[in-house]
């Protein structure tokens, strides 16, 4: 006995057209607008702060470069002041810009953990996926329409912030005394910051799909992101291109020095810096050899004893290629992770 009035066959023959994507736009916005507003507020406040600090830095730098005559003690003093108190990222740890950079480093991790991880984990934890996955829009399209706009939005927001930051720190690299490869800064500027944020979001989304719980997903995201960022910074980045090798001891300070070692008579002697023991043995500080000028630097002294210092380094001209390489593989990784997440949504058993 059949009480249904709708005929089954004709409808079955014509496969219905998928519902338009824009239907999901409202849903994604409605469900994530608080989180997105949080991101906008956080990064917006950051951008304003960086812009104000950047204005100060640019003014100071303009004053230095505009100082006439350049050789006057006043100008030298000003330059010294600029580089030492504001410019030297490696040593001035109390510095404002360095503090800003440290704070900025946490942004991708936070976005991955608190935007990326809950997107699917919360649905799975509270069971609300059963409401939406059984509706006509279809579950994998639902996942696409949630993940892709959110990923693009957080990456774009991060990109804008890092543009402001890049502009802020620009003066410190203008004189060529600082290396733009500095690990604290390389991944905060231009392309890479947006790419890292995107990757963190993608890691979070996949972690949420795999763990199905919000808190474990957040923990997993933080762990995976930190691991990846450390691996990239410490081991991967200098492999992007074969480092140049030189025996010239005057490597420009804008270059990224990968490794240094010494040879003697064509044979490897020791890595890194000479030991104190060797220096005392070859170049005792009190020794004043006849016919030689006192006050040789350790390097010069060792060179006189037949040692050669070798340096492998990445020249500053490789900054942009490295930015694009890192941005590229992170983008590829993010696409892969998001695709894997959507595939899991499609095949996951409830």
């Amino acid at each position: 006995m059949t009480a249904l009035t709708v005929p089954a066959r004709p409808e079955q023959a014509a496969s219905p057209r998928p519902l338009p994507w824009r239907r999901m736009a409202w849903v994604t916005w409605r469900q994530h607008r608080v989180a997105l507003a949080g991101v906008a507020a956080l990064l917006g406040a950051w951008a304003v702060y960086l812009w104000i600090a950047g204005l100060q830095a640019h003014h100071a730098y303009a004053a230095v470069t505009g100082c006439q005559p350049t050789s006057s003690p006043a100008c030298a003093d000003m330059l010294n002041n600029f580089t030492l108190t504001v410019g030297d990222f490696n040593f001035a740890y109390g510095d404002k810009a360095l503090a800003a950079s440290v704070m900025l480093q946490t942004v991708p991790a936070l976005i991955g953990a608190f935007i990326g991880a809950p997107v699917l984990a919360r649905e799975l934890e509270t069971g609300t996926f059963r409401c939406t996955w059984t509706l006509g829009f279809g579950r994998w399209r639902w996942a696409v329409a949630k993940l892709v706009p959110l990923a693009v939005t957080v990456a774009a927001a991060a990109g804008v912030t890092s543009l402001v930051f890049s502009w802020y720190v620009q003066p410190f690299f203008s004189d060529g005394n600082n290396s733009p490869f500095t690990p604290e800064l390389f991944d905060l500027r231009w392309v890479t910051f947006a790419a890292w944020t995107l990757a963190a979001f993608a890691i979070g989304a996949l972690a949420g799909m795999l763990t199905r719980r919000v808190v474990p997903a957040i923990v997993a995201t933080l762990a995976a992101y930190t691991g990846l960022a450390l691996t990239a910074g410490l081991y991967l980045r200098w492999h992007y291109a074969t480092p140049l090798v030189t025996s010239n001891p005057n490597v420009p300070s804008s270059a990224w020095i990968v490794r240094q070692w010494w040879t003697k008579g064509g044979r490897f002697a020791f890595p890194g810096q000479p030991s104190q023991q060797l220096l005392t043995q070859l170049c005792p500080p009190s020794s004043v050899a006849p016919g030689k000028v006192q006050g040789l630097t350790p390097t010069q002294c060792l060179v006189q004893h037949g040692y050669t210092q070798w340096t492998s380094y990445q020249p500053v001209s490789r900054f942009w290629p490295f930015q694009w390489i890192e941005g590229g593989w992170l983008l590829a990784l993010s696409v892969l992770l998001i695709a894997a997440t959507i595939w899991l949504v499609r095949r996951r058993a409830a």
Binding site: T2, L4, S15, R23, M24, W26, C131, W133, T134, G136
Partner: protein
């Protein structure tokens, strides 16, 4: 047409089979009850039917041969999951808007009218509604989809008796007035007697009984007689034998026309009693599944 049809359907989670060798055909036009104890595989079967889960073995089709989760199946089936999950931070109006956006058909005036009748404030967040209101909201969303099949997983388990009654009344109205086929699961057998016209009894992941309740009740009788003679009764297949003092109660497969042995009294059986008798005898086979023709089987497995 069968709204849900399964052949040898099985679902395994890890090494445990939640559902096994399930072959059942639920015809359209019924309120079909899926009954069984906790862990019998009711939720698993429903999840497979709405496409939330994929089978580990066998096959399942819905709405007359469609694969679950296909666009046509999604459009034709409305599902209210266990504990009626809703987005807690969305208002009732937002839930309406969300559901309308994500489905092909949505009867907005119907949904709004019904929520108005029920006194559910549209502006209130669903997390602040009572359990009964949440269940009614979820049911309203499902019915506003104008489905051909409404699937309800333990819809009233968390509700108080009044809310339970109201909920079931809405389901019955939809089934009667709009011709919606309903499949609902429950482990509360008493709930089902009032509403269901078709019964599927699941036990330990297998189908024990499946059939129209009218037929089931007509083909089973309870015989009461001296306990000493219970073992020697051999007239009709005994499903379950129970003892109360010197009396034995036998649930047998028999109609009202079948002869009653001397010294025994026969009476009709109630749905709850019938279901309990089967559930106590997990080995008892299901005689009531209608014999299906080879054509219909090949059609499903295709």
């Amino acid at each position: 047409m069968n709204v849900i049809e399964t052949i040898g359907l099985g679902k395994r989670y890890g090494r445990t089979w939640a559902l096994r060798e399930c072959t059942v055909a639920i015809p359209a036009g019924h309120v079909a009850a899926l009954a069984g104890p906790n862990g019998a595989g009711k939720t698993t079967l429903l999840n497979l039917a709405v496409g939330l889960a994929a089978p580990s073995a066998g096959g399942v089709t819905v709405l007359g041969g469609r694969p679950p989760g296909s666009p046509a199946a999604l459009d034709g089936i409305a599902f209210v999951a266990q504990d009626t999950p809703l987005y807690k931070n969305l208002s009732a109006a937002d839930m309406l808007h969300l559901t309308r956006n994500l489905s092909r058909r949505f009867d907005q005036p119907y949904a709004q009218d019904r929520l108005g009748e029920l006194g559910i404030p549209l502006k209130r967040k669903t997390g602040r509604l009572s359990g009964g209101q949440r269940a009614q909201l979820a049911l309203t969303l499902a019915l506003a989809l104008r489905p051909r099949l409404l699937v309800l997983d333990e819809p009233v388990a968390m509700l108080d008796p009044v809310a339970r009654h109201d909920f079931m009344a809405t389901v019955l109205t939809a089934a009667a007035a709009d011709g919606v086929s309903v499949v609902l699961s429950s482990h509360v057998l008493a709930d089902l007697e009032r509403v269901a016209g078709y019964l599927i009894l699941l036990s330990r992941g297998r189908v024990q009984v499946a059939g129209e309740i009218e037929d089931l009740l007509a083909t089973h009788r309870v015989l009461t007689g001296p306990a000493a003679e219970a073992g020697s009764y051999a007239g009709r297949p005994v499903v379950h034998a129970g003892r109360a003092g010197a009396q034995a109660h036998l649930l047998v497969r028999a109609t009202a026309d079948d002869p009653v042995p001397p010294g025994w009294a026969a009476r009709p059986v109630g749905l709850e009693e019938l279901a309990l008798a089967y559930l106590r005898e997990p080995g008892a086979a299901a005689p009531a599944a209608p014999p299906r023709t080879p054509e219909s089987e090949t059609e499903v497995t295709r």
